[in-house]
Amino acid sequence: MNSLRVPLIRDGLFQTGAADSHKKNTPRPLEGLQIVDVGCGGGLLSEPLARLGASVTGIDASADLIEVAQRHAKLDPALGSRLNYIHTAAETHVCEAPEKYDAVVSSEVIEHIHDKNFFLEQCVKLLKPKGSIFLTTLNRTTESWLGGIVAAEHLLNLVPKGTHQWELFIQPVELQDILEKCGCSTKLIHGMCYNPLTDEWKWSKNVKINYALHAVKAESN
């Protein structure tokens, strides 16, 4: 999925002006930007963002995953000090780093969370004014039940059974509403579609299963 979400974040940050347009098509387009990856897991998204020059903080509530992420990061010395992992929850990190980040990314996390209002509130608190939040998640539709649970968990075994609870999936409009209440305006919602035969992700107009969202925090709350 990185072939979609990394360019989405990179180009989104150029669009908002957070990333310096002179750095387009250079080795470190995101240099100088602070990004927090909330629910970073094993660091699948944190590492590429750090390679693009950003200072990335990956946070996760699971100590085990943070350890996996740290071990994996050691395999590529080029990541250096641009990548840090902390075993913490978003609400705790808000106290340590309020309004610290140019971007918050949270990929495939919110569909596991019960109190989405509270979670997104914390995410937005981590953001500087005019900062960007990037989310990827699953829609709550019949298609996502068939594709995300029946196919992915039971037929194709792409993810372990019981990974997802369909009831917790969130529709784009609902997500947009919560973000609006937190003072963020949505700039873009894009569907993503997975082809299990070629193991490739593609952008799609169809947001019925997977989608990505980019919202920008207001200048001042």
């Binding site: 072939s3 990394v6 990179r10 080795p27 590492e47 693009l52 010395p77 490739e200």
Partner: protein, 468 residues
């Protein structure tokens, strides 16, 4: 008078060029920035982002293409070449190793800003190709409308090598190590290493995030990969030579004739010089090399001009189908001399490799595929690999991916297999079809050639395909 007057300024210009080449190359050898360009890794080996094994045309072009990509400008690139550094001198006389370069390769040269350099020296445009055989009168010609645009360019390998080396020398993050004898490799898929390691004969160890094998038909990189190799030995040798024409001519046609025991091609170099590529049986090749100059010239002229008894069945068939070549057929220029020491022979074989990539490793050029020279596609397919792999690596890097791991190497592999496999099959098929005088095969090839010759749109597609 005119041709002589035309030639002398060219010759003079070339003497100057040779001196310039020597000088610029001296700087290249003395390049001592290697140390700045790599860092010491924790295991005591020197680490580079990309190591390319094999500093031939394709390997050097790879270093240039990667090094000139803006998003890769911080990647440290090392080119390992087994041979010692030697200055490339372009002599007044033509080298016997030339290539027919297609438009896609020219685009790569333009992208590397070396095309003007190459063309400024000596490049012969081919405006038309004529292909014919011995068993029937069928023939095919390829040209753009009104001969207005070249269908290919004949360029000496040395000239391309010189331009590519100069280009690589000017890339700050790319360096070359000559006389680099490789003892062994360790790859992540088969050894307990995280990234590829290169062990040199000197005992020195290098490591990298991406290793590119451009080490030719007997690739050592490939032998350490998890891949299957299918070899075809044609039991043929390619004989090359630089020939002088009896009369100076507007030399813009490439000639190729399928003979009972091989293929002979005459590629234009200048108004009075052409290059020979003759694939023939091993015995015949050896005897051709041993002939006196005059007898060799006679053999070449005979191969192009000799009338063979044509297959009467095929002739009448072509006639009845109204596919007789008529006035299309032209006669190639006659040869009157062979340049001293320009004759050489090399074995011909083809290889087909099941996969071009492993974790952190990729093959390019002859290491991945080798074809019979009859279609003049070999180095062009290699340059195609270079462009494709450089694009994929740059794209992956700009996406924050590790340049050796990830889907981009597989994308490179599938794009190149899709592009090269059909070409390899067609070339092999042509070789098989033309080495016989068996009537059904003659019918098939004559009809095929004549039909295509009568269908300009199909020919356009063929030219397009050969140029991609």
């Amino acid at each position: 008078m005119a041709p002589i007057m035309f030639l002398s300024p060219v010759t003079m210009a070339f003497s100057n060029v040779s001196k310039k080449l020597l000088m610029s190359h001296a700087g290249f050898i003395c390049n001592s920035s290697l140390i700045q360009k790599c860092h010491q890794s924790t295991s005591g080996s020197q680490h580079y982002d990309i190591i390319i094994a094999g500093g031939g045309l394709v390997g050097t072009a790879m270093a240039c293409a990667l090094g000139s990509a803006k998003v890769l400008s911080e990647k440290k690139i090392l080119l390992l070449e087994g041979a010692p550094a030697k200055p490339i001198t372009l002599k007044d006389t033509y080298s016997n190793r030339v290539s027919a370069i297609n438009h896609a390769s020219v685009e790569l040269f333009k992208h590397l800003s070396i095309w003007e350099d190459i063309r400024g020296h000596r490049v012969q445009e081919v405006r038309k190709m004529q292909v014919w055989e011995t068993c029937s009168d069928s023939l095919i010609t390829f040209s753009e409308d009104d001969l207005s645009n070249p269908v290919a360019y004949i360029i000496e390998n040395d000239l391309m090598m010189w331009a590519l080396s100069k280009c690589n020398e000017n890339i700050p993050n790319s360096s070359v190590r000559y006389s680099a004898k490789i003892k062994d490799y360790a790859f992540p898929h088969s050894s307990d290493v995280n990234t590829p390691e290169v062990l040199l004969e000197t005992g020195e160890k290098l490591s990298c995030d991406l290793l590119i094998g451009a080490d030719g038909i007997n690739s050592k990189v490939r032998s350490k990969m998890d891949t299957m190799v299918e070899r075809t030995d044609y039991n043929q040798m390619g004989v090359v030579a630089t020939l002088s024409l009896s009369d100076p001519t507007n030399n813009i046609v490439a000639w190729q004739r399928f003979l009972p025991d091989g293929v002979i091609a005459l590629l234009p170099l200048s108004e009075s010089t052409s290059s020979l590529v003759w694939s023939t049986s091993v015995e015949k090749a050896k005897s051709l090399i041993g002939l006196t100059g005059d007898s060799f010239v006679d053999a070449v002229n005979e191969a192009f001009l000799k009338e063979f008894p044509s297959n009467p069945f095929v002739e009448s068939l072509l006639k009845n189908l109204n596919l007789s070549p008529g006035t299309d057929k032209q006669i190639p220029p006659s040869i009157n001399g062979v340049q001293e020491n320009s004759r050489a022979a090399f074995p011909l074989g083809s290889i087909n490799v099941s996969r071009y990539v492993n974790d952190c490793v990729a093959l390019i050029g002859d290491a991945a595929h080798r074809v019979h020279p009859l279609a003049g596609q070999g180095v062009n397919i290699g340059f195609g690999d270079v462009q494709c792999l450089a694009d994929q690596v740059a794209k992956a890097a700009y996406q924050g991916s590790h340049i050796g791991k990830g889907a981009h190497l597989k994308v490179y592999q599938s794009e190149r297999l899709y592009e090269t496999l059909p070409k390899m099959k067609v070339i092999h098929f042509m070789h098989t079809l033309y080495k016989t005088s068996f009537t059904p095969a003659v019918v098939l090839r004559s009809l095929g050639l004549s039909l295509v010759q009568s269908m300009p749109l199909v020919k356009k597609q063929l030219i397009k395909r050969a140029n991609s």
